[in-house]
Structures are given as structure tokens and as C-alpha cells.
Symmetry: C2
Subunit: 385 residues, 2 copies
């Protein structure tokens, strides 16, 4: 029923604050990079999905974002649909493009992710989730929520502040080698702990910066991938689940467990098979919880597991070799597709000084929304050589 | 490769101005009506797509709309994705749900459409398309654009003001029998011509009202449809194309021609087979052009074809038996899914006093965006008994 799907090419802009560049311009750069990477004729792209979470509220473009970007590179007339799912918006664009090819409806599909947050209104106020009618004004913002996650984990499992800080240190040490990352300076445990406070125990280095950026990934069937001649990377599974963060136990997310079980089952793989993962480290405590929930170490042991180096580029599983959201920044819709770009570079052996040796299985993981209840989501996409 | 897809059930709210009802409440009513219509257990729904075009800008909900609605009826944890494509947003939700079942990825999928326009900012200003950076402020708004379409058609083909007005008269005469329509009073040719002017030659009756509303359609594989026991309605094709309205000849839309050719080919049908169509009559001239472009009469003859009664409920092809956008109103994201509801009722013989006799093939047609260029789109979905 399902056909094999390959990644033909990937591209992204650097992430950062680009107030003077339009989203069309950012998108054009990412799409063109993906087309050049695939070495495919633009007219062979048959269908497009554009992921964006806030362009309506920031730019007045709630629809037509993909069409406007694709017309910049001369692609028009094809079906183009906007898709959204909070911080997973790029990842659901990837998922839809994958389904479009896996199903046989189309042979070549493109997923685009884009966001411009530097222009958003309400600057200085924390960026919170759509529809948080009560929680937002009452202070239940993402930094506050994930700070509570950190405190719960410290209390329940004895995780230390230093272990938490080691996550930010690791990701920054990876970003030193990533020219597309917004922040590339290495930092120390002491710098993380003594940084400007945000929400106890978090300082600024525990929180990902926002930013602007765009990313693109082209998917095709296996036959076309053979013609293109690049090292083949297969997308072998995708899971998307909704809700919920249960605030009665903030040290694990039920949606992680359901999503990862589904995607492992789909591909016949397990956590021991994963060589590299780009994972949703919007805050240090998020990476801690996700690392455990996805099965890379036993529950509660994430602090020492990470601090001892097991998730470094040459560790048991390389987590966020790109530098992650904590270093790259988090232009919502662009994030999930950019994660795919990094994983594809890793699986092809093209990641330069941040290359994970002999990487064969890669995963991307994004958490969308953060409200307690049903609007949150988790998206996992899985790739193999 | 493709499995047969059936419509299990449909539902919608009345369309109108419901300032005191939340979108969650409107959505809950539509989804629950569809569930009751299908007589399916809510927990059997496996995947959802929510179409909305302006909820970010009007309500601050750019994502999570589907999750918030589904949680109202106890459906959670399943994959839910927001999709958008201007006025076609509901229609692309239908298309994605159809693809999800046709591909075999899922057995039961729901498409939801919702919009609340009564709360939008900038009231009194014409509602225009996203991203119309120059055209909007310069006056190139939807009423102005479609008034130019009317004038072009009158000049090129001799279409008369009375023929144009007969479209509004026909749709209102249908809406008399539709309890879910926003405006249900019959009107005369004279009333249309002498109405408060909007953009020459349009008066208010040539223009669809905006509004609030929600709609839902549940799709399933044929086996499940057999279990549910209702008269089977199959969704046999879907096309979505992008761009463009060529302003050098405004009497035909290239996107119509490409979209309808694709969907007819997909289903092995032609215009002579279509018994009933819900078509995007945002303005009288839009219905005129779409009627011709979709092949129901030769190009240029739409005026007399319609005025002579060929598109009335008992004519050669019943166009907008629901009363269309001109009567029902046009809550953007809700429109495309509501069109499906009407077509399904017609194909099942459940449309009461507006029933099209012996309807076997039905079509829905929505035009998304209106800008000259590549961001516009056309979506056609096709159904048979």
C-alpha cells in the first residue's frame, strides 16, 4: 500500500533576526537551496505543503504563503496548501508531503517551513501558544511551564542544576560548527547557571531564542531518487498525536510515549537503532524529558545520561548535533523542516565538523503547543539510509 | 493504489452572525451533527483536518482550531492538522481527509471547516485576500475585481444586467427552502438592480454576505460505509490548482479550466454527467464565469443559459440549490465543507423542498484567493452515488 519515499534534497536559510528580509525572500532561498541540493528541475515538483504557525498574526499572511514563495522560483499552478500545528507546523508539512508520495498520489512533493518572528507585535511579552485564554495572562507561559518541568524533575529524580545546564553547553558546543545557527559561541556550565534569570531555575541560556528563517525538503519516490544520483535517505515513518501535557506529572509527556511507539512500530526500529536525532529543545528541561520519553535512557536518569556525554556528537545517540533550538533559534514553522535538513546531511555524511560517525538512522521530533489539554501535539519523523 | 472513499456523515451549523458563540461551540455543533448523521462512534475517527482562513487574525487562533473543537466532543489524541487556502480552506480539508482514506493511511477521517468573521477587525472595510500588499489599498478588492469581471463579460459577450441579476434571484429562491441559510427571502430582478450600489454594476444582492459558521464531513472506506448502513455517497475525485486570474481576459479563469479537466479525468466523467453543483458564487459574475468555465454551457452564453432557467433546481444542471454563498453567507473556512454537506444531502435525496430530482453526480467548487498572480487557487471535489 505504501511506497518507499526518499528525500531528494534539503535547504535552509541561516536562522536569525532578518527584519529587512521578506518571508518570500527567506523562503525563496530555502527552496532554491533544496532544488539545487536535489539537482531536480523545479517543474518536476508536483505538490507543496507550507508550514507556518504565526504568519497571519505577524505578517497578515494566514494563507497563500507557499504559493507566494514558490512563485519566486517560477513554480506555480501546482496544488499548494498551508498547514499548521504550532511549533510542529514545519513537521506536519513534512508529514503531508511524505504521505503524498508514499500514497502514490504524487511522485515529487516539497515541504516548506517559514516564519518571521522578529516583526511580531507584543515584543517583550513571552511568545505563548494560540488560544491560551486563561493560562497566558495568568503567567503560564512556555518558559514558566518548562521551568516547572525542570523543578519537578529535580525534585522527583534528583536531577541537578549542573546537569540541566550541561544540555545548553552541549548544544552550544555543537553549534560552533553550524554556520546556519543563530548563536555559535561555546558557553560553560557556570555561564548557564549565572545567566540573566528568566524563570527559576532558568536563565536565558536555558531558553531558545526566537528568530526568522525558512527551510525546505523535497521528497520523491525511489525511482526518481535513483535518477538524481545522491546517496539515498529514506523517510520510513511519521507520527502525529494530539494532547496532552498532564500537569499532575510534568516529568513525562504522554504524547511523546504515544508518538514514539507509533513511529518505531511503523519502521520496525527502536531507540537503540537511532544514531542521531534533532529534538525539540525549546528549553533545557524539554530536551531532558524528551531524551527520556523517547527511550534513549531510563526515566529519571536523563540528567546524568546527558551530563556524562552520552548525547554528544560521538556519544551513544547524538542529540541536536545542529545546536538545536537552543542555539539555532526557533522560527516556529521553519524548525521542523530544518530538523529534517540536519538529519539528511548527517545521514549522507555531509555535516562537516559536526558529523555523527556512520549515522544510519535519524529522527526529528517537534512538540507543538504547550497548553495542558488537547491542543498540544507531538510530531516525529523517521529517516534511514 | 487508491481505495474507494465514502462520505459517512455531514453536518453544519446555520450560517449567520453569531457574535456570542465561540468557534469551539460552532465547531462542536457541526462535528456532532456529522457524527450523528453518520451514526458512528466518535472514537472511530482516526485523523482530522481543520480548514480555516482567518481565525488567527480574527480570534488569535492560527493553530489548534481542530483540536479545540474535537475536544468538545471528547475526541483527542488523534492527529489533527490545520489547513488553509483562503476561501478554499474547507475544501482542502476535505481533500486531505479524502487522501488520508483513499491512500489507506486511515479508515475514518474528518474534515472540519470553521470561521468567525463577525468579530473581525477593520469592519466596514472590504474583506480582501491575504498578502494583497498593493492591490488592496489601491481598491482592487474582491467586489471591485468581480465587478470588472461582470463588465468585461457584458462588453465581450453582450451579457445583460438582468441576466446577471437572475443569478442572485435564482439562488435566493433556492435559499427559501434552506433553514441553514443566512438570508432566505426571495428577491426580484428589479430589487437586485435597484439595490444599494457596491461597485458598478453590483448592488448588495450581487455580493455574498460574510458570516460565522462551522461544518464537518466524515469520510470512511467502503467497508465501514456498508456497516453504517446509509445510502452510499462516494467521493471520486479532487483537484487543487494554484493561480492565476489573468487580468488581460477576466471572462475566464485558467485555474477553473485546469482544475475541472483534472477532476473529470480522474473520475471518467464530464459536465453532462453533473446533476448538482455547489459552486463558488461569491459574486453574481463569479457564478456566471464558473458556470461557463466548468463546461455547463459554451463560453459567453452563461447569461442566457442561466436566465432561461437551465441552472435552477429542475434545470439541466442544478447550481447552488442551497442558495449558494449569495444566500447562505461565506464564513470562509466553513464554506467548502458546507458545500459537501449540501451535495451529500442532494445525492442521498434528503434535501427536502430543494431536492434535485434523481441526483447521482454532485460537485463542489471553491475559489481561494483572488489576487492576479500565483496565490489564487481553485479546488473541486467530486461525488457520486
Amino acid at each position: 500500500m505504501m511506497r518507499k519515499v526518499c528525500v531528494a534534497g534539503v535547504g535552509m536559510t541561516p536562522f536569525g533576526k532578518f527584519r529587512e528580509r521578506s518571508f518570500q525572500d527567506l523562503g525563496r532561498e530555502a527552496v532554491w537551496n533544496a532544488i539545487k541540493d536535489a539537482n531536480i528541475e523545479p517543474k518536476r515538483i508536483q505538490v507543496a505543503y507550507a508550514g507556518h504557525a504565526r504568519t497571519g498574526q505577524t505578517l497578515g499572511w494566514e494563507c497563500g504563503v507557499g504559493q507566494a514563495i514558490l512563485s519566486e522560483v517560477g513554480i506555480n499552478k501546482i496544488p499548494v496548501t498551508s498547514v499548521g500545528n504550532f511549533c510542529s507546523s514545519g513537521s506536519v508539512a513534512v508529514r503531508e508531503a511524505w504521505m503524498a508520495v508514499a500514497s502514490g498520489f504524487y511522485d515529487v512533493a516539497i515541504a516548506i517551513g517559514v516564519e518571521k518572528l522578529s516583526v511580531r507585535k507584543g515584543k517583550g511579552q513571552p511568545l505563548t501558544s494560540d488560544g491560551v485564554e486563561l493560562e497566558g495572562p495568568l503567567g503560564f507561559t512556555p518558559p514558566a511551564f518548562f521551568a516547572m518541568v525542570a523543578q519537578s524533575h529535580m525534585e522527583k529524580y534528583g536531577t541537578t542544576r549542573e546537569q540541566l545546564a550541561s544540555i545548553a553547553v552541549k548544544n552550544r558546543s555543537n553549534s560552533v560548527h553550524n554556520p546556519r545557527s543563530q548563536y555559535r559561541e561555546a558557553i560553560s556550565i557556570e555561564q548557564v547557571i549565572n545567566a540573566k534569570p528568566v524563570a527559576d531555575p532558568f536563565g536565558i541560556y536555558d531558553c531558545c531564542p526566537t528568530g526568522d528563517g525558512a527551510s525546505a525538503a523535497i521528497f520523491c519516490n525511489e525511482e526518481i531518487a535513483s535518477q538524481l544520483g545522491k546517496k539515498k535517505v529514506y523517510m520510513v515513518g511519521s507520527s502525529l498525536v494530539s494532547g496532552s501535557y498532564d500537569t499532575r506529572d510534568m516529568t513525562s509527556f504522554d504524547s511523546n510515549l504515544r508518538a514514539v511507539e507509533e513511529v518505531y512500530k511503523m519502521a520496525g526500529l527502536g531507540p537503540a537503532d537511532v544514531d542521531v536525532i534533532e529534538l525539540h529543545d525549546c528549553f533545557t528541561s524539554a530536551e531532558l524529558v524528551h531524551t527520556e520519553d523517547l527511550g534513549f535512557c531510563p526515566k529519571g536518569e536523563g540528567g546524568s545520561f546527558i551530563a556524562e556525554g552520552n548525547t554528544q556528537i560521538n556519544g551513544k545517540v547524538a542529540i541536536n548535533p545542529s545546536g538545536g533550538l537552543l542555539s539555532k533559534g526557533h522560527p516556529l514553522g521553519a524548525t521542523g523542516v530544518a530538523q529534517v535538513a540536519e538529519v539528511v546531511w548527517q545521514l549522507r555524511g555531509e555535516a562537516g565538523q559536526r558529523q555523527v560517525a556512520d549515522a544510519k538512522v535519524g529522527m526529528t521530533h517537534t512538540a507543538g503547543g504547550f497548553k495542558d489539554g488537547d491542543t498540544a501535539s507531538m510530531t516525529i519523523n523517521l529517516f534511514t539510509t
